[in-house]
């Protein structure tokens, strides 16, 4: 308990969390501080490239074991499963329509790569190692949740989902973030330690600083969303936004234990299961379920769950992983 609190305090006072808080505060105070769209996108491309590359290079270094495949399979299964739990929970505790509940559920089965990046930064700061291929698991968990959500609608009949046509499927599997993450992972793997050494002053040294600026921008976007969303999201939905990551994290922990992951790997599996998408899935929902209300799913994933994970969630998951796996 003590460790959790001190971990949380240490996390809350780190530059990256404070930068996020600054963004939220500036947005709520209606400051005109903002990042141009192109700069925000540039930083996200940088973060994806760096995290993928470093993951791949660490595999090259430590070699692949059977766990890689097993972890990928388990990640995909979690991503299929979590939306069903989320959907049930939403239909029980909130009054969301089938359509909106399914759309929200898709977000929680998928993952937030920035939460993953923040999680791995915190692990590194604490000197806790983790399996490099967790980046690949992250990529594998992006898409399956979308299929689950569309299946839920076809079963529960909440409206007419533009069926999962081949075009949409390809668009989801080949969306920019996944391609960049997997691609740079592969490059890191192929070029290994030497490749890393060549570009380390670009992808390792300034990484945390870029993450600060990026989270500052995320804070601005989240804060503006919160200010704007106002009535769109009920109190019960907000409860969901905090409870669901805890359920996800528990399943993630159990899976990690079954897989025999390290403490760091387990913490990241929890982070992935607990986090909710706000890049890939919203875009897919605009195509597949245009009638679902974006204000609901963006507010929950970006305005509630993302800050929760960033501030309290991650230190909690790290502490639990240490206790269960490390102990």
């Amino acid at each position: 308990m003590d460790t959790i609190l001190s971990l949380a305090a240490q996390n809350l006072l780190s530059p990256i969390i404070l930068s996020f808080a600054l963004g939220v505060a500036a947005a709520l105070a209606k400051s005109d501080l903002n990042f141009p769209e192109a700069v925000a996108k540039g930083m996200s491309l940088y973060l994806l490239f760096a995290i993928g590359f470093k993951g791949g290079a660490s595999i090259a270094d430590h070699g692949v074991d059977g766990q890689l495949i097993a972890s990928l399979v388990v990640g995909v299964m979690l991503s299929f499963l979590l939306p069903i739990i989320a959907f049930g929970l939403l239909r029980t505790i909130t009054r969301l329509s089938v359509l909106d509940a399914a759309a929200v559920a898709a977000h929680y089965g998928s993952i937030s790569i920035v939460t993953f990046v923040a999680g791995s930064s915190i692990l590194e700061a604490q000197g806790i190692g983790f399996e490099g291929y967790m980046v690949a698991v992250a990529a594998a968990m992006e898409a399956p949740a979308i299929i689950s959500a569309l299946w839920l609608i076809s079963v529960k009949g909440g409206g007419e989902a533009r069926g999962m046509d081949a075009g949409l499927m390809r668009e989801i599997m080949l969306n920019g973030s996944i391609v960049l993450l997997i691609g740079s992972f592969a490059i890191g793997w192929i070029t290994g330690k030497e490749g890393l050494a060549e570009i380390s002053p670009f992808i390792t040294d300034p990484f945390k600083g870029v993450l600060c600026l990026f989270l500052l921008d995320m804070g601005l976007v989240a804060g503006r969303g919160l200010a704007r969303a106002g009535g769109a999201v009920s109190g019960r939905a907000i409860v969901f936004g905090v409870v669901m990551p805890l359920i996800g994290a528990s399943l993630g922990l159990a899976s990690a234990w079954l897989l025999g992951l390290s403490v760091g790997g387990a913490a990241l599996m929890m982070v992935l299961s607990a986090s909710a998408s706000y890049i890939a899935v919203p875009a897919a929902m605009r195509v597949a379920l245009p009638e679902a209300n974006p204000a609901i799913y963006l507010t929950l994933s970006l305005g509630v769950t993302f800050p929760f994970n960033l501030t309290l969630g991650i230190p909690l998951y790290v502490a639990l992983a240490s206790a269960v796996i490390g102990g």
Partner: protein
């Protein structure tokens, strides 16, 4: 100066649907259009801005399309299904164009 009648169709559409729309335009022989960025706006689904965004999910484009008047109905028949369930608006104005051989 010879000028020809034309219709100027301006479609404000979600960025995520833009490619679908323009693919459809080209498939149906409407090979002339321009896409302008839209930086923010407001409509029934609330106000928004692209500042600091990284996702394509929120954000719109303005597709401007000049066509011969007699093709307007065909064009609308083609694009309406794409727009139907999506947010956005379409407006049509009478215009004159030069160099009609290009249309």
């Amino acid at each position: 100066m010879e000028m020809h009648d034309a219709k100027r169709i301006e479609i404000m559409i979600e960025q995520i649907m833009e490619k679908r729309l323009t693919d459809l335009l080209i498939e149906n022989g409407v090979s002339g259009f321009s896409v302008l960025p839209v930086r923010g706006g407001s409509g029934r689904s609330g106000q928004w801005s692209r500042q600091g965004q990284i996702s394509r999910a929120e954000g719109m484009s303005a597709v401007v399309c000049l066509i011969k008047p007699e093709r307007l109905d065909v064009l609308l028949d083609v694009i309406l299904p794409v727009l139907e369930r999506h947010i956005g608006v379409v407006n049509i104005t009478d215009a004159k164009i030069l160099r009609a051989e290009r249309f």
